[in-house]
């Protein structure tokens, strides 16, 4: 697919903001003080000002009401700059969960604050170390007008700063999504210091007061699709960035009296990698467009995109470190940050194996 004019403008905008605000230096600074709860507030502010936080929020709630392709253009920049930002948790997952699942009251309470950057939303799905969205032990119980939820969640992004949690819990034997407002009950957030400094936490809900998100049967599916799609774009962005740095290094570094980029074995590996990146990016864009157009096979395409992007990022970061040699192994060089980020982004919402397995199942074999 080719970007339309609106998307191209958005791509340029996102690139400009991230080039200006997000850098590995910021990441290093946040890492220095990190306890699993920080993000880049300057960047977030800039995203608010340019409207990116409302990219998926309807216009009547103060948003841009764009599609997943547009959000993906931002996610690509997130990956490229290794940005620490609640964009995924809030502007994408929160906006979709509430936008598709919320009633008018919920939408009006939360979508505006998402667009204005005042509200951070955290999605609490997983309960074990591997992504298994249908294995939900967390229970929802009717209580008065609403519900309470009780259970233990893990890998919850941006939990430490969240005002609203979107929680999957079993109701009458079926997993459903609920919203829990902070302060509305017992929510215990235990931040985890993650290898890529992403804000992450274990979260325990103890009979926390919850509202059912009841709008659309497929809300959870849409959230999972969107999560995987955004991470695919993050992975594509970081693959491109680590590859660009590697190419630069290959063109500058000398060994045996030659620039190492002139060694044919490295050239062929770099060329192969460049093709993998092109293909993964094309797949990711196509999958996002399929989601936006409501294509039947959008979920399959997104699984394919995430699986491929994860493998590509693994290769790109591994080649990046290896081709940088000893320097690539030092914390002083930035290259290792891409490898860490690639690992985390690959794992979240299902790794390549998970996505490939589901893809095969969806295809009927």
């Amino acid at each position: 697919m080719i970007l339309n004019e609106e998307q191209q403008m958005l791509a340029d905008l996102a690139e400009r903001i991230f080039a200006d605000k997000a850098s590995v230096d910021t990441l290093r600074a946040i890492r220095g003080g990190s306890h699993g709860n920080d993000y880049d507030q300057d960047l977030w502010q800039a995203m608010v000002e340019s409207g990116l936080t409302g990219i998926l929020v309807p216009e009547d709630q103060g948003g841009m009401e764009f599609g997943l392709v547009s959000a993906g253009l931002v996610a690509r920049e997130v990956g490229r700059r290794l940005a620490l930002t609640p964009f995924l948790s809030t502007a994408v997952l929160g906006a979709i969960a509430i936008g598709r699942g919320g009633n008018d009251d919920q939408k009006s309470r939360w979508l505006g604050p998402i667009a204005s950057g005042e509200l951070i939303v955290a999605l609490a799905l997983d309960e074990s170390a591997k992504h298994r969205p249908e294995r939900v032990a967390t229970q929802a119980t009717a209580a008065g007008d609403g519900y309470t939820v009780t259970g233990q969640k893990t890998l919850v992004l941006d939990a430490a700063n969240a005002g609203v949690f979107i929680v999957s819990a079993m109701l009458d034997g079926t997993p459903r999504l609920f919203a829990v407002e902070i302060g509305a009950g017992t929510v215990d957030v235990e931040p985890v210091v993650s290898l890529d400094t992403r804000s992450m936490a274990d979260v325990r809900f103890d009979a926390a007061q919850a509202e059912l998100l009841d709008g659309d049967d497929n809300t959870l599916d849409a959230v999972l699709d969107a999560g995987r799609a955004m991470l695919a774009m993050e992975l594509v962005g970081l693959s491109r960035a680590v590859f660009e740095r590697t190419l630069t290094y290959l063109s500058e570094r000398k060994q045996f009296g030659q620039r190492i980029g002139s060694f044919q074995a490295l050239q062929h590996r770099a060329a192969h990698l460049s093709v993998e990146i092109e293909i993964s990016e094309a797949m990711a864009f196509q999958a996002l467009a399929a989601f936006d157009s409501g294509a039947d096979d959008a979920s399959q395409q997104i699984l394919a995109a995430k699986a491929r992007a994860a493998e590509t990022a693994r290769l790109a970061s591994a080649e990046g470190v290896q081709m940088h040699g000893g320097m690539g192994m030092t914390d002083e060089f930035d290259i290792g940050f891409f490898m860490k980020r690639a690992r985390a982004a690959s794992e979240l919402f299902g790794d390549a194996n998970f996505c490939t397995e589901r893809f095969a199942r969806a295809k009927g074999y």
Binding site: Q258, F263, Q267, S274, V275, E278, M283, A307, Y365
Partner: protein, 395 residues
């Protein structure tokens, strides 16, 4: 816009009236292709009628100028024409290397006389052309070719050997790269000439592949005399034309596999051959994973092909990026045929016999191995990507 729609209506109606029903079916085999040429014999009336009507319209070469036997269509009209042809699945009325290689080269590099002599004959399907490029000792390094053409009065005297000339044994003429200056360095001493396969001293020998028979031939030149008027472009400047055509050739890589697997679902073939487990999954978990990975990669590759096409249609040049498609597409196809063999098991071991239509699995699997060699090896493609796309320093 109105004009174009009028044109579309005209084309549609003419095609409806003139394209025989049987020419609207997909080619069942290579035998259904109309190559044309002096010795051509039509295999059906429909084939002949369709050919004759299209020749009369000049629509065998729709975008060539009318004065050279073509249809004189503008690029926009040509697009309309192609879409209308596709709409009814119309077969190409005639096609050979003259249409897709020599024609474009002559239009760009040929003299007025050459255009008038050769293009109408191609368009009318009278002359079937073949391509004389590769040589036994100049594989990937095409420019090191040795077939010589010495000037003797008004003639070149050609000696040497070409390889991989498709259908050399059935073609009427060959366009051919020859060395006209043995002292110049490689690319600098090469010329592009046209020769008649009936000339004295030309002989051909078919090449048997590891997969069995093939259209490829070796072609031998023993003091073959070629009029100097058959030189295209300048003397010793043939490499420019060769490069133009090589890039042209590489652009034709699409997302669909050729051969047996075209349009067939690998997972379904595997399920039929191997069966499913109690959970409905292919009863070979490792093959299942390999097929899923292949399907994902194939879908992703098609996405890149589409993207590249869309960019090209939007006027952005594809350039060296076509090497990416050639590289990945052919490697993908080899993987695909490997997995087919994994799925077919013992049936893949058959070389003859009805059960496998004469060992089709094995033969097409073996044939696929050539994909990453012909039209520029994968190694050459990686080299092009490295230098022309990534701009890595030269070795």
């Amino acid at each position: 816009m109105g004009d174009l729609e009028a044109f579309r209506a005209e084309v549609r109606s003419w095609l409806e009236d003139n394209c025989p029903e049987e020419m609207r079916q997909p080619l069942a085999s290579d035998q259904d292709h109309v190559w044309g040429g002096r010795q051509w014999e039509f295999s059906s009336d429909g084939q002949r009628v369709w050919f004759e009507r299209m020749v009369e319209k000049g629509w065998t070469a729709p975008a060539w100028p009318i004065e050279y036997g073509g249809g004189g269509m503008t690029p926009a009209e040509h697009d309309v024409f192609k879409s209308e042809m596709k709409r009814i699945n119309a077969r190409s009325p005639v096609s050979n290397f003259g249409f897709w290689m020599l024609g474009p080269a002559l239009l760009k590099f040929g003299s007025e006389e050459q255009k008038r002599e050769h293009l109408p004959a191609i368009a009318r399907g009278e002359i079937r052309w073949c391509q004389g490029y590769s040589e036994p000792n100049a594989g990937s390094d095409l420019a090191s070719l040795k077939t010589s053409a010495e000037i003797d009065g008004d003639y070149f005297v050609v000696n040497g050997r070409k390889i991989w000339t498709s259908y050399a044994d059935r073609a009427d003429k060959m366009f051919c790269l020859v060395r006209t200056d043995p002292d110049a360095k490689k690319q600098a001493g090469i010329s592009f000439i046209l020769l008649d396969m009936e000339s004295q001293g030309v002989s051909t020998r078919p090449i048997q592949l590891i997969s069995g028979e093939s259209p490829f031939c070796e072609t031998f030149f023993d003091d073959v005399r070629v009029p100097r008027a058959n030189l295209v472009g300048e003397l010793n400047q043939g490499w420019t034309i060769a490069k133009y055509l090589l890039t042209h050739e590489r652009d034709n890589i699409g997302g669909e596999p050729p051969g047996l697997l075209k349009g067939r679902d690998l997972a379904k073939m595997a399920l039929e051959a191997i069966g499913a487990d109690e959970a409905g999954r292919l009863d070979d978990p490792m093959l299942r994973a390999d097929i899923a990975r292949l399907e994902i990669d194939a879908m992703a590759f098609r996405a890149l092909v589409e993207h590249t096409r869309a960019k090209a249609e939007a006027g952005e040049g594809v350039g060296a990026r076509s090497a990416m498609l050639k590289y990945y597409g052919t490697e993908l196809n080899k993987r695909r045929y490997n997995l087919m063999m994994d799925a077919m098991g013992g049936q893949g071991l058959e070389w003859e016999g009805e059960r496998t239509s004469g060992g089709r699995y094995a033969r097409e699997w073996l044939r696929s191995k050539g994909n990453s060699i012909e039209g520029g090896t994968s190694e050459i493609m990686l080299g092009i990507i490295s230098s022309a796309v990534l701009e890595l320093p030269k070795g």
